[in-house]
């Protein structure tokens, strides 16, 4: 009541603070849900809280706290537990195979898939426009590829980063590598194995063509500000056997064109 007598500026200021506090309470309560999803109860909720603050949240102010350091240590511990798991599971695999397996099990798409399935983005505090749509689109896309798209999907990196931050938070809270593996092994299932490991379509196309003595080349189509285009041309006639256009990373568009060309060649040859 007293506040009404103050000037407008101050009332406004207090309102914002009040709203923030309410929101903060609600948000902290909602984080309990995260503990249920990942199956781990934090001793110190500070780590859990920090994992869900994106550095854009305080924009335009300097971030007072954010999840970048947890993301850093989460990435590190994840790489290590996956390496250890692969090393013991495949005692005859040379380092080259282990490296490819590790990369597939910790790459952005793999982690973003887990984060999206767990719905972790619902708890993230950020100020990024259009993120929900992007994640919704990603969530729809992954249904087409049960294990991994191998470079065909436009992955929201922020999802992978949030996953790493949560892994980092569990590690900092538990200070135990074993706990990290126990908690996240389940969420990361199925772990990609030598049997389920696939190469990206661009690599597969090159290998396929070399084996079958087929000459192809990639040509970039006309790009506008948003979209890029790739064509795959066959032999001396430059027959177009694969094309893709998209408003995402060029590498993904190239992979999609390669996938189309591969499908075409396989159906023609067999």
């Amino acid at each position: 009541m007293l506040l009404i007598k103050e000037d407008d500026g101050i009332i406004q200021y207090m309102r914002v603070l009040f709203l923030d506090e309410e929101e903060e309470k609600e948000w902290l309560l909602s984080l309990k849900e995260v503990e249920g999803i990942i199956g781990y109860t934090f001793n110190n909720k500070k780590w859990l809280r920090e994992a869900f603050i994106h550095y854009t949240f305080y924009y335009p102010e300097e971030p007072r706290e954010c999840n970048q350091r947890l993301e850093y240590i989460g990435d590190s511990v994840l790489n290590f537990v996956i390496d250890t798991e692969l090393f013991t599971s495949y005692p005859d695999s040379p380092p080259g195979v282990l490296t490819r397996l590790k990369s597939a099990n910790v790459d952005n798409e793999k982690l973003a898939r887990v984060a999206a399935k767990c719905g972790l983005h619902r708890f993230l505090r950020h100020q990024l426009l259009g993120l929900d749509d992007w994640i919704q689109n990603f969530s729809n896309e992954i249904l087409k590829y049960p294990v991994h798209s191998n470079g065909l999907i436009d992955t929201p990196k922020i999802l992978a980063n949030t996953m790493e931050a949560v892994i980092g938070a569990v590690f900092r809270d538990s200070t135990s590598v074993d706990t990290v593996w126990k908690v996240f092994k389940r969420l990361l299932e199925p772990i990609i194995s030598p049997q389920t490991l696939q190469v990206h379509p661009t690599t597969e196309l090159h290998e396929f063509c070399q084996k079958n003595r087929i000459i192809i080349r990639f040509v970039e189509g006309s790009n506008d500000e948003k979209n890029s285009t790739y064509h795959v041309l066959l032999g001396n006639n430059n027959e177009v056997i694969g094309t893709a256009t998209g408003a995402c990373k060029k590498e993904i568009v190239k992979n999609r064109a390669a996938k189309a060309a591969l499908d075409h060649l396989k159906s023609t040859i067999s």
Copy 2:
């Protein structure tokens, strides 16, 4: 005695086998020295043994065993323990700083320095010609740079790999990250800190020139089969202010030319 009655070929063959067995025994005995140097006694000597077999050892036969897998897991656990140490030691450092610190603490030169100081190469079974000379030269060179040369020394990668394999062996034998850190922290001292972290001369030169509004450019000199040459040219007159030639990686030669140019500019400006 019986063997003398056999033909030359067989006697020779048996001698080789006999020598191998003797050598094997001596080698296994010598590995006890490694345990003393690193301050860790292996429960299962199999890991210690494997750490010191380079893949060239059985050449031209296929390697029956070698240290590449231990090198792989050693690299992984080392990265992780260093990350954890830096994360806790520098609670206010952002991920970018942690990344640079980690790289400096696990790079080839840093690990090769430790391996050379410990004399680990003396125990390595390999078939590489000229390795001893290279290592001797490296051991002399590091005396000029007490902590790190920052890209000025030609580092024998095999030394760094051996160090990683030994770290991997201790990890596999102890199955304990804490033990790995306890054993190798001492050997890795001094851990490079934000205070002792330096940038490579090429980067430092560019930063220095930007700050002082100086225009320079690198030019590759005439290279023969063994040596490469770099010059640093100043301003529009193309005055040569730094030159280096060497029979090692181009990056190192470029760093040496940059260092020469930096020394020249600093003495001229101050």
